[in-house]
Subunit: 344 residues, 2 copies
DNA sequence: CTGAAAGCGCTTACAG
DNA sequence: CTGAAAGCGCTTACAG
């Protein structure tokens, strides 16, 4: 087996200096067209391709962009990654993907690994456990551009790409009200997480705008799983003043609600309206089909990646960190359509 | 902003040679315990961590393992990646993830990039378009271990991890026969793809074992989408001799079948039995719930990663390439349960 | 047990 | 327009 050709082999083959080869490959203006042609031919002849690692070490320019996410195996996250990859690929950067698996310690370790791997930039969606941001400050201290998406921490001055959760929730509630529901409960996730805090805000704002009182009994926080949502729904239904609609801060929770309604033979949307969040792939398959808020995860990932590439292109431009909200869209299906039944 | 400490800073701080620091950090046996302790303290003091890129260039040992997949945003693939990441992470390797987006040209480009990035090994699930394997031979020529998973090409001598598609299909058909179905149709994907070829084999073998004739009219190949499956189902139902069960080579196809049955008010499982493949997350949510074959994607990814780590540990051991089949499991739900109704 | 020195494969100021 | 030479931050034979 022959060893892979390096730049010295190419230079020797042509009888020129390695610097000439290096410049020719980068289309450096000071190299003559004739020499460039010779170099490209030799490169093909010897099947040469530059060692990215060596180039990185010498130039200081990394060859990869790091991504840290809680877990890759969710519909939302894998679609974010899909969007990121589509944007990053043409730029020539590699994508190094790390999972925190929702643990702060692993996230910290991921950050260190990426720094030691000389990545050019880091895109992160923080874990549930992450409250301290020392590890993120470390990224900035190493002069590595950092962008947060979806799961962000607000204390840090970095660019953020998020779904406009407040708006998504607001529109969901407005829709329920339009459909004639007025006693609207909220099943929310852990309130310390950015997205759930904002969905709660949207819920409150929409009630206020429509002169509906906030009923503390109808607000159930910190629900994480389908079975917890099931139980919470049972409690709501058994209470003295049961709601006539339930807004869920995720589709997983909505599945628990539908399960509870089905078990008790309560009709949705006729008796109880249900809206989820995330527009997971099964929204068309539940009975009734599930109204939900589409977050456009591919666009979230793509935007984060685009901004990263912009930053990497003009490193010197220090712009003010901004937060970009991707506008969500309510996908109306049957579970909330008491007035007009949609075709699906 | 201070520059990150390098190994020279640590050596200078202690008044020792960089070689001593390097060896101490690797727990080299020739370094005294006392010196090691000093080095570790200095490392903490200066907040030093080794530059992986430089180490890679000098030692020739890569720091990353590359993964090439068609698309990350599928339930199956993102779970494979999840399994891979869980195994790779403790080893200290980074995971570089590339998408071919089902295009041969991009897959080729991914391979080149990974080689130039000096990855230690490559895990690949090939694209639909991939028939030529020159790019994979290139990986071997560069002495980089290669492992294929799920979507494999058979012409190459490499380790493979696959779901046992033949068995999965076989058991699905046996189950349908046990449930009293005897006129069993097959909706299959593109037959040139390994997994579909084998699911077809399993289908044929199970019919043969049970003395059922193969009915060419009931075998519809090259169905890729839900709507194609819908149309194919309509054709089957309208034919002179309609089947009494339909085995689908993917859950997506099964959704098209259920859609067609629903539209025509044909009851499943009573009139037509339906079995899918892949056990996608919505199997519990369809009406009827969908019997399907679970492939254990996390295990497939984890096995591939484990074998890669083994190969990287003892590089010299040239073992014979083997194919490992992960045994699938039929998850029986309502769509195929004509005799005994399962609880779900 | 420790150190001096070479070198991995590039890039880039500097010189001409 | 091209080349000689230094150096990125490590590791590793070799020497003692």
């Amino acid at each position: 087996m022959e060893k892979k050709a390096n730049i010295i082999d190419v230079a020797r083959y042509l009888g020129v200096a390695t610097s000439t080869v290096s410049r020719a490959l980068k289309d450096h203006p000071s190299i003559s067209a004739k020499t460039k042609k010779l170099v490209f031919n030799a490169v093909r002849e010897l099947n040469y391709s530059p060692n990215k690692i060596a180039a990185n070490l010498r130039s200081g320019n990394g060859t990869a962009i790091g991504v840290i996410i809680p877990k890759i195996n969710s519909n939302f996250m894998s679609n974010c990654i899909f969007g990121i990859e589509n944007v990053i690929y043409p730029s020539g950067y590699n994508l190094i993907i790390c999972q925190s698996t929702e643990h702060y310690e692993k996230e910290l370790s991921n950050v260190k690994t990426l720094i030691d791997s000389q990545v050019s930039g880091i895109l992160i969606s923080v874990s549930n456990e992450t409250v301290s941001t020392g590890h993120l400050a470390m990224v900035k201290a190493n002069n590595i551009p950092l962008i947060m998406f979806d799961r962000i921490t607000e204390s840090l001055q970095v660019d953020c790409i998020v779904n406009d959760d407040t708006r998504g929730a607001y529109e969901a509630i407005e829709h329920l009200i339009e459909q004639g529901y007025s006693k609207i409960a909220l099943l929310n996730g852990p309130e310390h997480i950015y997205v759930y805090k904002n969905r709660y805000q949207g819920y409150k704002q929409a009630l206020a705008s429509n002169n509906l009182d906030l009923q503390p009994d109808w607000i159930i926080q910190n629900i994480n799983t389908q079975s917890n949502a099931y139980q919470a729904t049972c409690l709501l239904l058994d209470s003295k003043h049961p709601p006539d609609a339930i807004f869920c801060a995720s589709d997983t929770l909505a599945l628990g609600v539908l399960e509870a309604l089905k078990q008790r033979n309560i009709q949705s949307p006729e008796q109880i309206g249900v809206v989820g969040y995330g527009n997971d792939i099964y929204g068309d398959l539940t009975t009734p089909t599930l109204t939900s808020v589409e977050q456009f995860p591919q666009e979230i990932g793509a935007s984060a990646a685009q901004i990263m590439l912009q930053i990497l292109e003009d490193k010197n431009v220090k712009s003010i960190p901004k937060t970009i909200s991707i506008r969500p869209r309510l996908i109306v299906r049957r579970s909330s359509s008491r007035k007009v039944k949609p075709s699906i």
